[in-house]
């Protein structure tokens, strides 16, 4: 039994445990124990991974294991990780852990909430550890459906509408992806759906064009590919806090991860030829998301559109197809995952106190909730890309990497995308000025309290992550970029 499978087993065990326990205390006990174990497991994985790499192991995937599952279709349960998956697994653990604390007071139906939450986590972890196309797709889908009930039952605002829209768009794109996956397998003539084998069986060029489009689109919609991002603002705004965190922080990264792991790695020729079209779309998405965020007054919508902008930047960087830009893309996934989770957590906490998310109805909250206020400023600065915080590292790497491409088209696009940083400063600083500073808008807000211990724990954990990546980026960047070296080599 490979220890990677524990990442899937643990959430499943948590689901089973949740079925048994009764009181609220026990439910939280299960969740805290489970999610802490997951954090420890990821820490162990990262440590172990670095140790093995340092000892000179240069295999593209480490800790691999496979088990025949559905023989007639040569489907295996195959696991293995490279630097990118290790980093993403660590991110997932952090978000799942903090999400648990943020949902400390969730009601009603606490047990059911965490059941779906754990199923979502199972899908996410499974997706990052598997190397088989079918299993990968299975976990991908597993992560999507719990969102429907999580938003529909525990959400706010037009929750039924948002939940249905999000589910249909994401499941719809994943069905397109399904065709792409079948095409890759049957088109390549490989004898298994294992990615490491499919890499060595590239398809004919015409087939690649067709299936690359399907696959990239399929994953891209989850990565908020413009103009198919419309599920994201509504979905994130209606979702309960922990779900927004997990969805924007981790689930949207599944899209970016899938894009390079499947679409680009398995169909390099098509990626090279078709990237301009998708680059244009993602480029527009980057700028459009930022501008759309300016117009919003609802804090969640501001962050949701900012996420659209940043997730498009991830896809943008991946499509630039240089080692630096792709490393930047993963750094951006990581950094954006932490930042957006922090944002959503803070917005949820503020909303829980003021019962409004409109920045026009709040003001001067910094005096009343200094802890939440300062944390919000840190998240904002990181989002803009202030040096020393994670946003800077990621965006810098992306833009430098993108500019490495010699041709005019890509350079012009890169310059256009850079403007999103400036626009980003506008909406972040504007909202901070509006609702954190200035005079108190609403007298009732004067009596509100600052964060509780469980909220502080979540916030501090996320800020620590942001600071760590911002201050010591080389370690993380090296793990990531090593994997891309081998990936791009195979592609060429």
């Amino acid at each position: 039994m490979n220890f990677l499978s524990l990442f899937v087993l643990l959430p499943l065990l948590m689901i089973l445990a949740l079925f048994v326990v009764r009181s609220r205390k026990q439910i939280l006990g299960v969740m805290v124990t489970g999610s802490s174990l997951l954090v420890l497991l990821s820490a162990y994985l990262a440590y172990h991974y670095i140790a093995v790499r340092n000892s000179g192991n240069t295999d593209s995937m480490l800790f691999t294991a496979s088990l025949s599952w559905f023989k007639p279709l040569n489907i295996q349960y195959a696991v293995g990780v490279d630097g990118v998956s290790v980093v993403m697994l660590c991110l997932s653990s952090v978000i799942v852990f903090t999400g648990t604390f943020v949902s400390w007071k969730i009601a009603p139906l606490t047990k059911e909430f965490f059941l779906w939450y754990c199923l979502l986590a199972t899908g996410v972890y499974g997706f990052f550890i598997t190397l088989d196309l079918f299993t990968l797709f299975l976990f991908y889908e597993t992560a999507l459906i719990p969102m429907y009930l999580l938003i529909g039952v525990w959400g706010s605002g037009p929750k039924a509408y948002s939940a249905m829209k999000l589910t249909l768009m994401l499941m719809g794109s994943s069905m397109i992806l399904l065709v792409g996956i079948l095409g890759i397998y049957f088109g390549s003539g490989a004898t298994s759906m294992h990615i490491s084998e499919l890499v060595h069986h590239p398809m004919a060029a015409e087939q690649q064009y067709f299936f690359f489009t399907l696959t990239f689109f399929g994953f891209g919609v989850l990565g908020a590919l413009f103009p198919f991002h419309t599920w994201s603002p509504d979905g994130h705004a209606s979702a309960p806090t922990a779900v927004s965190m997990l969805h924007a922080g981790v689930l949207m990264k599944l899209g970016g991860y899938g894009c390079f792991r499947i679409a680009i790695q398995l169909m390099p020729m098509a990626a090279e030829r078709l990237s301009p079209i998708f680059l244009l779309l993602t480029g527009i998405g980057v700028v459009y998301g930022a501008f759309a965020a300016i117009r919003q007054t609802d804090l969640k919508y501001i962050n949701a559109y900012s996420s659209v902008s940043h997730c498009n930047l991830v896809l943008f960087a991946i499509l630039m197809l240089t080692q630096t830009s792709m490393t930047g893309a993963v750094l951006q996934m990581l950094s954006h995952g932490l930042i957006t989770a922090l944002f959503f957590a803070l917005i949820g906490m503020i909303y829980g106190r003021t019962h409004t998310r409109l920045i026009t109805e709040m003001g001067g909250l910094m005096k009343i909730m200094p802890f939440l206020g300062v944390s919000f400023v840190i998240a904002g600065f990181s989002n803009i890309g202030v040096p020393g915080l994670s946003g800077f590292v990621a965006e810098m790497t992306i833009f430098v990497g993108s500019f490495e491409n010699g041709d005019l088209f890509r350079r012009v696009l890169t310059i256009a995308a850079v403007t999103s940083i400036v626009v980003g400063a506008v909406y972040i600083l504007r909202s901070i000025g509006r609702f954190l500073q200035g005079p108190l808008q609403n007298e009732g807000h004067g009596k509100l309290d600052d964060a509780h211990w469980y909220e502080r724990l979540a916030v501090v954990t996320l800020i620590a992550g942001i600071l760590y990546i911002g201050s010591f980026p080389t370690g993380v960047a090296e793990i990531i970029s090593d994997s891309f070296g081998s990936l791009l080599q195979v592609a060429k």
Binding site: F70, L73, I145, Y148, L149, K159, M175, V179, G183
Partner: protein
């Protein structure tokens, strides 16, 4: 081979016949007290029959090739057996009212007779036996649809079913007569090599298939489905949608392979369009339904279209995935019908709007219903996801990518209407939800079996492997 050996090869039919006769005699002879135990006796006897015929034996033929046996038939018959068994477990509600109580014996007898007909259809090697099987499967089914004689809709459904079914049988018989006229034989093995592309045989082919498409309810032969499903008692509806449809789909596939193997391009083209229309129309009509039984009727039409994806591939993988699909569909659909029949028989409520807020009063039933909906929609990680994935891959393997794309687009539409039911139960608020229903123990057992299967069948890889070992392609 002695005369007696013929019956050994037909052991599944013989043992079913024995069960059927015992139940008939029991119904006639038992007194009032004995009849209280009718359902347990029927279930136990039938479970015994299912177990005895569970393991495939060697292939063989009886009565000079009229009856043909292949191991894959045991698998499909076992699937039908399990489905029938689950339906028996769910049937107690049906006889709770005093009016219906006296009809208990007929219900089990008629159901098993249709099952016997399906057995014969599956195993026939001769068109005459095939036709007898088809009629044995259809006529008692019509009486079952009209089973609730105190309900007008039920009678209406029965009349519709018998008329249309007789009509389609007529067309099929007409096709058979042409086949006999042009080839001079009724044996499958003799007809197949004599099939050429001449006008008479093409007509025979079309007529023959129309009769079968009616049974599977492919569009444009689907018009009876919704009315009959709505009128019939819930348990009969579930029998129609799972057992009758499943056996018909399997028979359609084997006949296309055995009888019309040389027509492969023709029937692939034909099926291609029929599948597209079936899935799409079934889905579009399902979108607007308010009555949950009509809703499931249309959803089952589009499900039949998905089965078509496996049939059209004509490969071993195709047959494997079709059987697997039927297996998973059985559990998903019966889980849904178990809940529906419990609610219908207790409260008489069959509108989707009645299910609003069901989770508040009946959390367990809602949970089962949700799993069933997810599995029918093909949502991971439940069994329906795997069966959809496999059936799509069998079509993709043969290059039917356009068909797969149409199917996946329809999957999204279907997801919407399946989620509507989930939304009603979990998200919609209702001041007066359906009262808490304490369903009987047999039904509980059936729901537990279905739930377990929806979660586990997809994860157990060997199920597909076992089916594949016995399947065959063109």
């Amino acid at each position: 081979m002695s005369y007696f050996d013929n019956f050994l090869i037909m052991c599944s039919e013989v043992s079913l016949l024995i069960v059927l006769l015992i139940l008939l005699l029991f119904d006639i002879t038992a007194g009032k007290r004995g009849k209280q135990y009718f359902q347990p006796v029927a279930i136990l006897l039938f479970a015994l029959h299912t177990l005895l015929n569970f393991v495939p034996t060697a292939a063989g033929e009886a009565f000079g090739g009229m009856y043909q046996y292949q191991p894959v038939m045991t698998i499909i018959k076992s699937i039908l057996n399990v489905a029938t068994l689950i339906i028996f477990l769910q049937s107690k509600h049906l006889f709770e009212s005093i009016k219906m109580k006296s009809q208990q014996g007929e219900y089990y007898f008629l159901t098993l007779s249709t099952l016997l007909g399906m057995y014969l259809m599956i195993s026939s090697g001769h068109l005459l036996l095939f036709f007898i099987g088809l009629e044995t499967a259809s006529i008692p089914l019509a009486t079952l649809v009209a089973f609730n004689k105190h309900c007008k809709k039920s009678a209406e459904g029965g009349a519709k079913f018998i008329l249309l079914s007789a009509f389609s049988s007529g067309i099929l018989l007409f096709g058979i007569s042409y086949l006999y006229g042009t080839t001079g034989s009724l044996y499958f093995s003799e007809i197949a090599p004599r099939m050429a592309l001449n006008a008479l045989q093409i007509m025979a082919f079309i007529f023959f298939l129309s009769g079968l498409f009616f049974k599977v309810s492919f569009v444009p032969f689907h018009l009876w489905t919704a009315d009959v499903y709505e009128g019939a008692p819930s348990n009969v509806t579930s029998y129609l949608s799972v057992v009758s449809k499943g056996s018909a789909a399997f028979v359609l596939m084997t006949l296309l392979f055995k009888l019309f193997g040389s027509y492969v391009h023709e029937w692939q083209t034909l099926l291609f369009w029929i599948i597209i229309v079936t899935i799409t129309l079934g889905n579009l009509f399902a979108l607007r339904q308010q009555n949950i039984k009509r809703f499931l009727a249309f959803s089952s039409i589009s499900q039949a279209g998905y089965v078509g994806l496996g049939i059209i591939s004509g490969s071993t993988l195709g047959m494997t995935t079709v059987i697997y699909y039927i297996l998973v569909y059985l559990f998903s659909n019966l889980a849904a019908f178990g809940v529906i029949s419990a609610i219908e028989n207790r409260t008489g409520k069959i509108e989707i709007a009645d299910y609003n807020g069901l989770y508040q009063s009946n959390p367990k039933l809602s949970f089962v219903m949700m799993l069933a909906m997810f599995s029918l929609a093909g949502v991971a990680p439940f069994a329906g996801f795997m069966s959809k994935f496999f059936i799509f891959s069998s079509a993709a393997q043969q290059g039917f990518y356009l068909l797969v794309i149409v199917a996946v687009v329809n999957t999204i539409i279907s997801l919407y209407y399946y989620l509507r039911v989930v939304k009603a139960m979990f998200i919609n608020q209702n001041e007066q939800p359906i009262e808490t229903i304490n369903t009987d123990n047999w039904n509980k057992v059936s729901l537990v079996i279905c739930t377990g299967a929806i979660i586990l069948v997809g994860l157990l890889g060997f199920v597909l492997d076992i089916i594949e070992k016995q399947s065959f392609g063109l």
